[in-house]
Amino acid sequence: MSGKMCSSSNSVVQAQKLVDQLRVEANMERIKISLTAADLVKYCQDHRRSDPLLTGIAASSNPYKDKKSCVLL
């Protein structure tokens, strides 16, 4: 269901809520992308080694990969 709001501009209650919401959002503190993107990159680089799907871990320590020899439990 993705129907358009037919009465969003008709009802006063809804218009008031929209204005209040926009006021809140417009007053938000924003940071430049050059800084925030650098943080995202830094996070990825810092955690790169501990990401098994990215760097791949040895078959012996990955419980899902088939081991070469039998393991006696």
Partner: protein, 396 residues
């Protein structure tokens, strides 16, 4: 507020004038009241400041929207992939199907991992909910439910219970898990949440005590599991909410939701306030997922794109799309470091994207029908995908 969802849901005496008729369910300071549409308009006009009319409000909202666009535009000094140019490319991935979980008799609609990194729960259109051991393929628990539309399931942080979202009776229930295989778990089902339309998503918060739900009635809600009491409700979407995700950051008390109104909203859990809204997608948003650091989130949509939004810059920073991808994306999840984005599509494949360089790294083939959900295990060693082909696959 959405007229289409709330219209004529209730019929009876108006809380304000007493006349019997179709009532609008509205919220005044988070208290639900039922007013007939005439009283709603009267109350609204009384609430206007001196000199304000519908027209002035509309103009103000237009100017505010333009101001928001300008403010967001000022921050766009560089693109994400430009910042990421210096880092090395992702090497060839050796991800393959390692396990195929067979046992469901119909489309698998949802799945979730347990914090112990090996168990997972899945729900299907055949009414069955199964708890699997991912290593051994053992089916630890199975519950058969009378309804056939368990659209959402979630594992409790303790691993002792699962929450199920129902598409037919509009409830979210919690079932405690037991070690006894013979116990009929369906009898211990406890209803927690009640919506006026299908429950599309559910998740436990930091403990087993509270659950957060999203619903086709356009709202999200926070519930106390023990008493079933509604703790907070979140209104702002103008159509069905299809997905939600809790912020992973310890200080964060926020969650993000996405829905059929093409909007994704970030909410403050304590106040119920909508903090940020993003309207970039061109079609329904099927899934939203936070970046591991909590500073960004990704969304998957029927417009065949996935997008990354930076919360501190308050804007979209990347679009993951290709001309060759024309089918909608149904689900996304990040790898542990946040470098990879796994996205399941309606063309039966899973695309693996390099989040920072905004390129596609790999495609995972194997499923024979639409992917309904992809989820990375808590320790990042594996990816589980649930599909309409009745199976789940574990990739590692």
């Amino acid at each position: 507020m959405c007229d289409q969802t709330f219209m004529a849901a209730t019929f009876g005496p108006c809380d304000s004038c007493g006349k019997t008729g179709p009532l609008m369910n509205i919220y005044i300071k988070n208290e639900p009241v039922n007013y007939c549409s005439f009283c709603v308009e009267v109350m609204a006009y009384r609430g206007l400041q001196k000199g304000e009319t519908l027209e002035t409000l509309r103009q103000e909202s237009d100017t505010l929207k333009k101001k928001l666009e300008e403010e967001r535009g000022k921050l766009n000094d560089v693109e994400l992939h430009q910042v990421a140019e210096k880092i090395e490319v992702v090497g060839a991935l050796s991800i393959k199907t390692r396990r195929v979980l067979k046992g469901h008799g119909n489309k698998v609609l949802c799945m979730d991992w347990c914090k112990d990194k090996r168990r997972l729960v899945s729900s299907s259109q055949d009414g069955k909910v199964i708890v699997w051991d991912g290593f051994t393929l053992n089916k630890e628990n199975g519950v058969s439910l009378p309804c056939t539309w368990v659209m959402a399931c979630a594992y409790a942080p303790s691993g002792c219970a699962v929450a199920l979202g129902d598409g037919l009776d509009n409830k979210c229930s919690v079932i405690p898990l037991s070690l006894d295989k013979n116990e009929n778990l369906a009898t211990k089902k406890k209803s927690v949440a009640m919506h006026t339309n299908y429950v599309s998503g559910c998740t436990f918060t930091s403990s087993d005590m509270q659950i957060l739900t999203s619903s086709g009635d356009g709202s999200c809600a926070l519930w106390d599991v023990e008493s079933g009491q509604l703790l907070q409700s979140f209104h702002g979407h103008t159509a069905d909410v299809l997905s939600l995700d809790l912020s992973p950051s310890e200080t964060g008390n926020t969650f993000v939701s996405g829905g059929c109104d093409k909007k994704s909203c970030v909410w403050d859990m304590r106040s119920g306030q909508n903090i940020q809204t993003f309207e970039n997608h061109e079609s329904d948003i099927n899934c939203v997922k936070y970046y591991p650091s909590g500073d960004a989130f990704a969304s998957a949509s029927d417009d065949a794109t996935c997008r990354l939004y930076d919360l501190r810059a308050d804007r979209e920073v990347a679009i993951y799309q290709k001309d060759s991808i024309i089918f909608g994306a149904s689900s996304v999840d990040f790898s542990l470091s946040g470098r990879l984005l796994f996205a399941g599509y309606n063309d039966y494949s899973i695309n693996v994207w390099d989040v920072l360089k905004v390129t596609r790294v790999s495609i995972l083939f194997g499923h024979e029908n639409r992917i309904s959900r992809v989820c990375v295990s808590p320790d990042g060693t594996a990816l589980c995908s649930a599909s309409w082909d009745h199976t789940l696959r574990i990739w590692a």
